[in-house]
């Protein structure tokens, strides 16, 4: 499974990066969503893969998955939701303010 | 008997997993936009089945809430997608 998960992380990352390099706000936001999937899975695997070993203390359990990365991913998921929400509304504000949903600014002016 | 149960479980799992594969195919070939929403809805229903079946197979109830929430959110997603298609504004 390790190779499959690694390929999934790589694919999610690549998808996120490609979309982040687009010119409109919406695909950029989608790209960020993909990156956050990728990184959440990445943090998760830092505790290595375990099947059928949830970190719920139980006398019958034969072992536990590493709970710490799971807790970290929880934090990361929550935070990335907040961040996504903020960038979405900013994109909205930028679009409604100017009628244009490009991400690039033309800063020089 | 346990063998029969195990076989039945595996059969059911295989059915829903195959269903998931068919969903993927439909997703790829979906003729209309609402069809895609339907695919998503079906996938979440199939996912509920898979989660419960795997839980039954391993004798663990750990993922019961996950199944419950997939059922709940699958419904909400479907409604949201459809409302968007129908009205644009999903909370109007």
């Amino acid at each position: 499974m390790e190779a499959l998960v690694a390929i999934a992380i790589g694919t999610l990352t690549a998808a996120g990066v490609y979309l982040m390099l687009r010119l409109r706000t919406f695909p950029v936001i989608l790209g960020l969503t993909f990156l956050s999937y990728a990184v959440n899975v990445f943090i998760f695997i830092s505790g290595r893969l375990a099947v059928g070993l949830p970190p719920i203390i139980d006398k019958a359990a034969t072992g536990y998955a590493d709970p710490l990365p799971q807790a970290l991913v929880l934090t990361a998921i929550v935070i990335s939701f907040g961040m996504t929400a903020v960038i979405v509304i900013m994109a909205l504000a930028a679009y409604l303010g100017s009628g244009d949903d490009r991400v690039d600014m033309g800063d020089a002016e | 008997m346990t063998l029969a149960i195990s076989l039945a479980l595996n059969f059911a799992i295989a059915c829903f997993a195959a269903g998931l594969l068919l969903n993927l195919w439909r997703l790829y070939t979906a003729p209309t936009v609402p069809d895609r929403v339907l695919v998503l809805d079906t996938m979440s229903v199939n996912a509920v089945a898979l989660v419960v079946l795997s839980g039954t197979q391993s004798g663990s109830a750990m993922n019961f809430e996950a199944a419950l929430l997939i059922a709940l959110t699958g419904f909400v997603s479907t409604v949201a997608f459809c409302k968007y298609l129908l009205r644009g504004s999903i909370i109007e």
Binding site: I7, V51, L74, L96 | L20, T73
Partner: protein, 945 residues
């Protein structure tokens, strides 16, 4: 008076004129004069000791770590300069009081002047080269303000900027040079460095240090090729020009050459660079001065020339030459100041400085003529004036110097320069004051009042007095100064007459004679001059700066043009490149962990994830389709978490997913539905390459990590071991979240709360923007919509589903500590339930029945979490220390209650509040877009319409 106080006095005093201007112009000038006079008295107090050969010192530690200390010293060299700075400063203040116009802001003028004076005084009093550097840079800054004083004139602004740029650049070179010098000498204190000449000159760093320091000196003292800024500095008011050109600013470079003479001079490099630079400057300045028609320009170039002369003398490196330099510093200051002040008087009287439009002023302004004439003759080097004294010494020194391998060449060239000098001095007098009286003056010019005449009068008195009685006070001063320069006892032999055997006498005669001849041939020479092509330094400089600025603008704007893909793309390349570079620099052993076998069902999930991901990228321009595919990705990730023993993650992922989806759909309603195809194939290929490389990196890293074991036992072993006995919960993930790492969660809910606030504030600003609301309405009008607002079936089902979902939320909250769940997921479930109600009944109907304000929920959540954490203080325990116990209430079975549950309640509330505030803020926009309010829970409801 302590030297430190003297040095600081002008700076403190600089505040006064600004206040004193309320009491009138005289009070203002008087205040400036008073400060200067007090400082002058302070310096004079130390004069006897200094003349007796002592070095007065004042030491104050400032930044010992840097070697920068507020150490001051006053010796002969410093004394001469201090007297010039303060003495001439006093005269300038007097003159300026009467020179400046009613409209000129006098307070600002004197403030700047005093700042400048203080900076100059600081340079000559510093006994620490870093301290000196500070004052050095301050002269650049304050002269910038003085030159640009009349900033309504473009010449003023340009001249100021040019002076700042050139002297500033030199100053920065000087910084490097001084740091090197200090490094060689082992101290930044001048008194130490002055003793370390031999060490310095033998150091390998000597040459770079020398060049850097000389760059500083030459720019400041307007030496070729940096001479061009000085004439443009005359855009300043005439008193400023007089001050800058005579006693200060340009003399700072000369001062430093003299100051460091014992350390730096005496090497072939020094001789070659300094002498040659001085010589070229002297000749060039003199030649240009001759052909300038503007009186001030003529004087400005003459300053360039005379500074070259002094530089040359310091470069020669002999004692005699050094003495001559010191003498000329003094003499030049007096006659040049007098000349500038006279030029100012002439301009005041005639409203012109153009020598071609002047003439015959001798009869109209006899007093001015007398003063200007004497000063000019001194500049021409005629006896018995002081200019003659120093010129003789100069010519003598030049005659004795071998330059470019020729014993006679330097003497010849010096004589040539002296001749040109005489010529332009004569021209100043003859073309300005002699000849027939012109009739075209706007007003009849006449001598000014005593206020303007007094200052030049005092200066001319010095010109004459020193010339006539060179020894005495003046001689002692020169000896003291020259002694410090040459590092030994000096007994200068200052006299007008050295006998016919002196070659200088004949050279001098030749110069004066030649000068007269040149003036006679002036019309012819002028034609030749006019016909010769000369580089225009100012135009070149301006063009250079403009080109530089344009280049800067182009590179800056093209690099920082607000293109997101550039900043992202470059960052990614740096990430991947940096990561690979670092990785390959260290050892790597592949992991030895046994791998997890592949199973069929997860494989299908994996395939779904990959297909949906690829599809989302492929279809991203159709935004709705992309969102759908993203939902599938989210579902598969959640299933993956469930499969790989992370039920809590699965729950969180599932719930966050749907909330995100609602958010995106709400937003997409106001955004374009599709993304136009606008990037060329090449760009897409490039982006795909970047994406591929990044993905490859991430995947490879993930793989490398997954297949290896931890290098050390992981800290989560403690969490697992202590989850139940220590934190009172069997769900280790939850105990980490609410207890072991509850502080992370504390930050995390704050993030969510802040996010909601930000969103609310932004939505508010959108709704207050008329353009935005107009766009909202137009967008609503343009969107094709189906009929049927809130289907009845949905409305009815929601009535049952809402409490059901809430019950699930309560369930998930309550058991989170022991089994998958917790406050966060519970909050999301509640939010989803409420959002469902919003979708069923519409924003206004559902929101109108909401019993609580979301802001309050967020605030309460964060407060509860904070207070729960802070409650531990009451028990002397750190923030967020949790306690738990089992409580039994008959007939129920005992339940475990942890204070962490209260913390989790804070999490629940803030999550609920944040999600609802976020989505409500966006939903609110549709109201502004023109949506009417629904007055019933759903369509065709009982009692509804």
């Amino acid at each position: 008076m302590s030297l430190a106080l003297i040095a600081v006095l002008p700076f403190l005093g600089a505040l006064l004129p600004g206040f004193a201007i309320r009491w009138g112009r005289s009070a203002c000038a008087g205040m400036a004069g008073l400060v200067t006079a007090i400082a002058l008295v302070g310096v004079l107090q130390h004069a006897p000791a200094v003349l007796a050969g002592q070095v007065v010192q004042a030491r104050l530690d400032w930044v010992p770590a840097l070697g920068l200390n507020a150490n001051f010293m006053l010796d002969g060299l410093g004394l001469i300069f201090a007297l010039l700075i303060l003495g001439i400063g006093l005269l300038i203040i007097l003159y300026a009081r009467f020179y400046l116009d009613e409209a000129d802001p006098m307070g600002r003028f004197f403030t700047c002047l005093l700042l400048f004076q203080g900076a100059m005084l600081g340079i000559v009093l510093s006994d620490n080269i870093l301290l000196l550097l500070i004052f050095w840079e301050l002269t650049s800054l304050s002269s910038f303000l003085l030159i640009g004083f009349w900033h309504h004139l473009p010449q003023g602004r340009q001249g100021a900027r040019m002076a700042l740029t050139v002297t500033g650049a030199g100053g920065l070179a000087m910084i490097a040079g001084m740091l090197l010098l200090g490094q060689i000498a082992g101290s930044y204190d001048l008194s130490v460095i002055l003793e370390a000449g031999a060490t310095v000159r033998s150091s390998p760093l000597y040459l770079p240090a020398l060049i850097l320091i000389l760059l500083g000196c030459f720019t400041k003292s307007a030496q070729f090729p940096f001479h061009f800024w000085l004439p443009h500095a005359m855009a300043a008011p005439t008193p400023v020009s007089a001050y800058l050109h005579s006693a200060t600013m340009v003399k700072a470079g000369i001062f430093l050459l003299a100051r460091l003479w014992p350390v730096l001079a005496g090497s072939p490099e020094w001789f070659a660079i300094v002498t040659t630079t001085g010589l070229v400057t002297m000749l060039l300045g003199a030649a240009i001065a001759l052909f300038k028609d503007d009186m001030k320009a003529l004087l400005a170039y003459s300053t360039v020339s005379h500074l070259g002369l002094i530089t040359m003398l310091l470069g020669i490196g002999t004692k005699a030459a050094a003495v001559a330099a010191v003498v000329h510093i003094l003499c030049h200051a007096t006659f040049k100041a007098a000349l500038f002040l006279s030029a100012g008087i002439v301009e005041h009287a005639t409203h012109t400085r153009d020598l071609r439009r002047l003439g015959g002023l001798a009869r109209l302004m006899p007093l001015t003529f007398a003063l200007a004439g004497l000063a000019a003759l001194s500049m021409a080097g005629l006896p018995p004036l002081n200019g003659f004294l120093s010129k003789e010494l100069m010519l003598a020194a030049a005659a004795q110097t071998v330059w470019a391998g020729q014993p006679w060449l330097l003497g010849l060239l010096a004589t040539l320069a002296a001749m040109l000098s005489a010529a332009y001095a004569f021209r100043f007098v003859v073309h300005g004051f002699l000849g027939p009286v012109r009739k075209d003056y706007p007003h009849a010019p006449h001598d000014p009042g005593a206020g303007l005449l007094l200052a030049p009068l005092v200066l001319v008195a010095l010109v004459v007095g020193i010339g006539l009685v060179p020894t005495g006070l003046f001689g002692a001063l020169v000896d003291a100064a020259a002694g410090r320069v040459t590092g030994g006892q000096v007994d200068s032999d200052l006299a007008l007459w050295h006998g016919v055997a002196s070659p200088a006498l004949w050279m001098s005669l030749a110069a004066v004679g030649g000068g007269i001849a040149v003036l006679g041939a002036y019309p012819a020479l002028q034609k030749v001059w006019a016909a010769t092509a000369r580089p225009d330094a100012k135009r070149g400089f301006d063009a250079g700066i403009r080109a530089l600025a344009a280049l800067a603008r182009r590179s800056t704007d093209s690099l920082h043009d607000g293109t997101l893909s550039r900043s992202v793309g470059v960052a990614l390349l740096a990430i991947v490149g940096g990561g690979i570079y670092a990785f390959t620099g260290g050892g790597h052993a592949p992991g030895a962990r046994s791998l997890t076998p592949v199973e069929a069902t997860p494989l299908i999930g994996w395939a779904a994830l990959m297909v949906a991901t690829a599809g989302a990228v492929w279809q991203h321009r159709s935004r709705f389709a992309a969102l759908l595919l993203v939902s599938i990705v989210g579902l598969m990730v959640a299933l993956g978490f469930a499969y790989f023993s992370a039920p809590d993650l699965a729950l969180t992922q599932i719930t966050v997913e749907v909330v995100t989806l609602i958010l995106m759909l709400l937003a997409l309603n106001f955004l374009p539905r599709t993304t136009p195809s606008e990037s060329p194939v090449s760009r897409r290929v490039r982006d795909a390459l970047i994406a591929g490389v990044t993905g490859l990196g991430a995947g490879a890293l993930a793989y490398a990590l997954m297949i290896r074991d931890f290098a050390f036992p992981t800290i989560s072993a403690f969490h697992l071991a202590q989850s139940y006995p220590g934190a009172g919960g069997t769900n280790a993930v939850n105990t980490i979240i609410v207890d072991f790492r509850g502080y992370d969660t504390y930050g995390e809910i704050t993030v969510l709360g802040i996010a909601a606030l930000v969103i609310f504030a932004l939505a508010d600003s959108i709704l207050r923007n008329p353009h935005a609301t107009a766009r909202l309405r137009a967008n609503r009008a343009a969107t094709p919509r189906a009929g049927g607002w809130h289907p009845q079936l949905m409305g009815v089902v929601t009535r049952a589903l809402l409490p059901m979902a809430m019950m699930v939320g309560v369930f998930i909250y309550l058991r989170g500590h022991n089994l998958p769940g917790g406050g966060f997921v519970a909050g999301l479930v509640f939010a989803i339930a409420l959002l469902m109600q919003h979708m069923a009944s519409g924003f206004q109907w559902a929101q109108g029945r909401m019993p609580v304000d979301y802001h309050a929920l967020i605030g309460a959540g964060v407060l509860i979490a904070s207070l729960c954490g802070a409650a531990a203080w009451a028990f002397g325990l750190p923030f967020l220390t949790s306690g738990y116990d089992y409580f039994a209430v008959w007939p129920l079975e005992p339940i475990g209650l942890a204070t962490a549950a209260i913390f989790d309640l804070g999490v629940f509330l803030s999550v609920l509040g944040a999600v609802m505030l976020t989505l409500a803020s966006i939903s609110r926009m549709s109201v502004r877009a023109g949506e009417p309010a629904d007055d019933a829970a759903f369509d065709n409801a009982e009692g509804g319409r």
